[in-house]
Symmetry: C2
Subunit: 118 residues, 2 copies
Amino acid sequence: MYERKIKPNLNCGLDLIGEVLYGKWKIRLLWFINEGHKRPSELQRKIPDASRRVLNIQLKELEQHELVSKIIYPVVPPKVEYNLTDFGKTLIPVISAIGNWGEEHEERLRSLILKSLD
Amino acid sequence: MYERKIKPNLNCGLDLIGEVLYGKWKIRLLWFINEGHKRPSELQRKIPDASRRVLNIQLKELEQHELVSKIIYPVVPPKVEYNLTDFGKTLIPVISAIGNWGEEHEERLRSLILKSLD
DNA sequence: TCATGGAGGGATAAATTATTCCCCTATTGT
DNA sequence: ACAATAGGGGAATAATTTATCCCTCCATGA
């Protein structure tokens, strides 16, 4: 694994959130898991732009941060399920706030972003 | 400036938010601007871990995305003020939700993150 | 015997983000 | 003359994050 050279600052709440939520696909992962798409393959289908690899890595981080729990069923072929932990569930309002804002302002955001790419 | 090689996906609300809010210091910038720390030098004092440069860059992006507006007073030495636009203000509930969650769970988050760095 | 399904890992390359360093503006005060 | 002030920008480089490719596991059905 990659080892950080610069230690993160953990002073304020926003620093802490950064550590836990700052990853390209993490919010989506939490969002979809919360919607009931629990299995890795489902999540990959829901987020086709992310490579399988990154999703695994980010899921593992979410797990280390105790936002999701992982159940491995001892069957072949393997079956795995992710669920929000109680702690993870406290994030639902946050994630909804984010997602809803994005949807409410979808058109405006899209045109702003396109414009900013000149 | 750096030119993206991979065009962003702008399908869903979460993609859009990503484009606009995904930057190491952006949420903090919005947070502090909302709290009334409007001038670049104040923001730099509030966020000492970020280099002056990145803050400028991220402020400019926030401006392009119409979340903040910039007033340049024609005086010497220069004086500049950032404010949330009306559009930016619609983000306040989102940012508060994020910041509050971070503060509420501060202790737990800190220890989880430290643990995950082994 | 061999492909399939579903999950996961290592190595490496590419993309992106952030940091460093150094320079510029123009006025006021020493 | 010259430092200080408040803001900004370019270039090069470092750090970090994502993407790509390819390989493993093992039971089951064709």
